[in-house]
């Protein structure tokens, strides 16, 4: 796409010439109730309409990539939790898989199943925050608390699985840190029965609500082509009608054997790729996660959970780009090893939220202030994943 055609396509939906031309510069964030953590937009508004927006990130930049260069490979695992604290095990998994691919480490079968349980549970938890925070930003508080209540039960499950509620640091190179007994698996199965009922009720509480639909439909439309151009990934990309799921197209763990659908946005209430599609894709994806979890439960077998990994891990010289499907899209680790030291030469983390953020400046143009919030909330962005 050349520059000219892109400009044409990204033309604001509201003709800015129609409005008076007196801009007010307002500062939204970093401490604003709906900028999810510390993200800031400088909005130039004319009445209620945003003429221009400058997103500003970096308030949570902790230089995780620099920290990685100063420590052994295994020490960096707890830091990956903090890349996306809402879906911590997903980040663990991406890192572990990349290192295992580079170092040629084996993973026992049961460890992979346990990893998948952790990852899928985490994905549901993350989506619950996403679909809960969306109505919260639109002014409905109760659905958010209901979603968090379910997340709380899942945290109880993760507590048994990993020992912690957040920032689990569950996955180790060549395995996982601890095993679970059958009681946990039974609990999980029982909980999934509960979760199905919750999803149905949640949909009736807010997903079918007329006001909610009106606030989201045809707001922040990102067409499939645009979504690819902005490097959207995960639910955001799928909501734009492009059914790319790394668990399908580039399978890792045992996702090859799993039967699940990839929900895509169909524009059931408005246009494909609008904010409501991003909401409904997440809801459908939670149902798919539930299916995957049931399959895992039927297939998991006893066995060792940790393979032999050298205490001081030195990877062969070389580099790798390994990506997995995290809750917020493609989570890629670009790792460079110099083959001599026990610490990585460079780790670059590619996150879904950062890529989603790139669209803001263009999409915000011509929106109303209330839509800015709806669009931003529907992207389900987590600030530490943007800044790292």
């Amino acid at each position: 796409m050349t520059s000219a055609t892109r400009e044409k396509e990204l033309k604001p939906r509201v003709e800015i010439t129609q409005i008076s031309g007196t801009e007010i510069e307002v500062n939204m964030g970093p401490h604003h109730p709906s900028t999810h953590g510390v993200i800031r937009f400088i909005l130039f508004i004319d009445g209620e309409i945003v003429v221009r927006a400058v997103p500003d990130v970096g308030y949570l930049h902790r230089s995780i990539e620099k920290i990685a260069e100063s420590m052994p490979y295994s020490f960096f695992m707890p830091y990956t939790d903090r890349v996306d604290y809402v879906a911590a095990i997903n980040c663990n998994l991406g890192y572990a898989l990349a290192i295992e691919a580079m170092g040629g480490l084996e993973v026992p079968e049961r460890a992979t199943w346990l990893r998948m349980i952790g990852v899928e549970l985490n994905r549901i938890m993350s989506h619950l925050v996403g679909v809960g925070a969306l109505p919260l930003d639109l002014g409905a508080f109760t659905p958010f608390v209901h979603a968090l209540r379910e997340r709380e039960h899942m945290m109880d499950l993760l507590e048994i699985l990993t020992g912690t509620r957040m920032n689990n640091n569950y996955i180790r190179f060549g395995g996982v840190c601890q095993d679970v007994d059958d009681e946990f698996l039974k609990k999980l199965e029982k909980y999934l029965d509960h979760f199905v009922l919750f999803l149905e009720e949640y949909d009736r509480l807010i997903g079918t609500n007329k006001i909610f639909i009106e606030r989201l439909k045809n707001v922040g439309i990102v067409s499939g082509e645009k979504a690819l151009s902005y490097s959207f990934s995960g639910p955001n990309l799928r909501a734009s009608g492009i059914g790319l799921d790394l668990r399908k197209v580039d399978p890792y763990c045992f996702y090859n054997d799993m039967k699940f659908d990839v929900p895509v946005g169909k524009g059931i209430k408005g246009t494909v790729g609008d904010s409501f599609d991003r909401y409904i894709v997440r809801i459908e994806e939670m149902a798919e996660c539930e299916k995957i979890l049931r399959q895992i439960l039927s297939k998991i077998k006893e066995g060792p959970i940790q393979s032999k990994v050298p205490k001081k891990l030195v990877l062969p010289a070389g580099e790798a780009y390994h990506h997995t499907e995290s809750a917020r899209g493609e989570l890629g680790y670009h790792i460079i090893s110099d083959g001599k030291s026990a610490s990585p030469y460079r780790i670059k983390i590619r996150t879904g939220s950062f890529a989603s953020m790139t669209s803001l400046a263009e999409i915000f143009k011509g929106m109303m202030v209330a839509d800015v919030i709806a669009y931003f909330a529907s992207l389900d962005i987590v600030a530490p994943e943007v800044d790292r």
Partner: protein
């Protein structure tokens, strides 16, 4: 006109439905519990086996091998082992844990070689206890000294003495050998 009426109908029907759900929650018991005073049993008892609460050290079991200290990515553990006359092997001089820094990653526990107990009450020398309430008013309240300070200073003194004795002994042993070397040279 039909869409007009449909809009009105949809709006009122879905609002009605949502309100029925919220009302039904009004008739249920809340799911939250009144912490900490109205609990059926204390929270630590309800926690799973390997729950990561606060770090705890069994100073009796600890062999002062410092593996946990090396395993910690962020220097939470500050410890020292040295030879004293108290016991064979290394004696723990001091063992401080900076709870304010700890990120509960479990790496130190996995590194610990000293284990004790059966299947039920199994624990390593450094382990997570189920207690999680550890707030304090000052930063130094968050540092737990498992060997009390006075004791630690005492032990440090002993260790220095032992070290001095050993050095003297070593010197005495190697003293006759040294002139020979010089002589050879």
């Amino acid at each position: 006109m039909t869409t007009y009426l449909k809009n009105i109908w949809e709006a009122s029907a879905t609002v009605f439905e949502g309100m029925a759900i919220t009302f039904s929650y009004l008739l249920q018991r809340p799911i939250t519990v009144q912490y900490p005073d109205r609990l059926k049993e204390p929270v630590p008892k309800t926690l799973p086996k390997n729950y990561r609460g606060r770090l705890m050290v069994d100073t009796e079991l600890c062999t002062a091998c410092a593996l946990c200290q090396k395993a910690c990515p962020i220097d939470v553990i500050e410890m020292k082992g040295a030879r004293t006359e108290r016991k064979k092997g290394l004696t723990l001089i001091y063992f401080n844990i900076y709870h304010g820094k700890c990120m509960y990653c479990n790496l130190c526990v996995e590194a610990c070689p000293a284990e004790e107990g059966d299947e039920e009450a199994h624990h390593t020398a450094i382990y997570f206890k189920k207690d999680f309430e550890g707030s304090g008013y000052e930063l130094k309240d968050l540092v737990e000294q498992f060997i009390p300070r006075e004791e630690a200073i005492q032990r440090l003194k002993e260790a220095e003495e032992t070290a001095a004795k050993r050095a003297a002994k070593a010197a005495a042993e190697s003293a006759p050998a040294e002139p020979k070397k010089e002589g050879n040279a």
